[in-house]
Subunit: 151 residues, 2 copies
């Protein structure tokens, strides 16, 4: 199991836009594209999903682009993941395949409840993490490196 690259990229995009949150200047897809080395068309897909879920707002026209629709602290990692994937983990019963509609041992199969629990656990974790937190981590490390360089 892997985190999909789309989710990972989406998070990068949000972070790039969050970097400019103070200045309130919209960030364009092309700008992010240059920074992240991803084609703008591909980024666009992600930004649109993020916008649909109200994580981003966009301004059109010549000096347009995307901005956060809330402050970094109020945007959870979960909401970003959810915007892209909808379900971070799909609890599927693999015995429902074929012509059968229900799991062979539907009544006494408790495995799916395990995956549902796992999913809830993951969601709880991701809800605790927010964009601000990731931003701070980056900045702290950056400062640390810059201080090191000076000496």
């Amino acid at each position: 199991m892997k985190i999909s690259s789309r989710v990972d990229y989406a998070l990068s995009c949000v972070l790039r836009i969050a970097d400019k949150y103070e200045s309130r200047k919209p960030v364009t897809a092309v700008e992010i594209s240059r920074q992240e080395k991803i084609k703008p068309d591909y980024i666009e897909q992600l930004l649109l999903l993020l916008k649909k879920r109200k994580i981003l707002k966009s301004f059109r026209g010549r000096s347009g682009g995307y901005v956060l629709s809330a402050c970094p602290e109020d945007i959870s990692v979960f909401s970003v993941v959810k915007a892209i994937e909808n379900e971070i983990l799909k609890p599927v019963c693999f015995r429902e395949k074929g012509r059968r509609k229900k799991c062979v041992h539907f009544d006494d199969c408790k495995i799916i409840s395990l995956w549902i629990g796992l999913k809830e656990n993951m969601e709880k974790y991701l809800k605790r993490k927010n964009i601000e937190e990731l931003l701070l981590l980056r900045r702290k490390e950056k400062n640390w490196r810059e201080n090191r360089r000076i000496r």
Copy 2:
């Protein structure tokens, strides 16, 4: 993201074998195959992995089969998942692709630490769950259904 069917099936297998833990009778791949409607060859692959990780022991020959190598309570769901998948979640940095060996923004990219945290969280959850627990859930429900039927 989905739990792979292999993990799900492996867990079913372990549960089927655990059902017979008291009687100490080995359970054969064909037996499980009939119960779970999966081809025996496919099940074999999973059983072998489980055996390699010491979750199962096997007896060869005419009246052979598989048994648990520990009591159901001492087998965590995590160990089963680990036997099949090795890593429940691979924390990958998607910016390492292409000719570049390292992430474009290696130093200031903290996203991967997020996935590492998520992975640890998932593992913790799965370590708490054991086979006995799943077994009890099944049996409880079964009894409940049977009591209902009698009245």
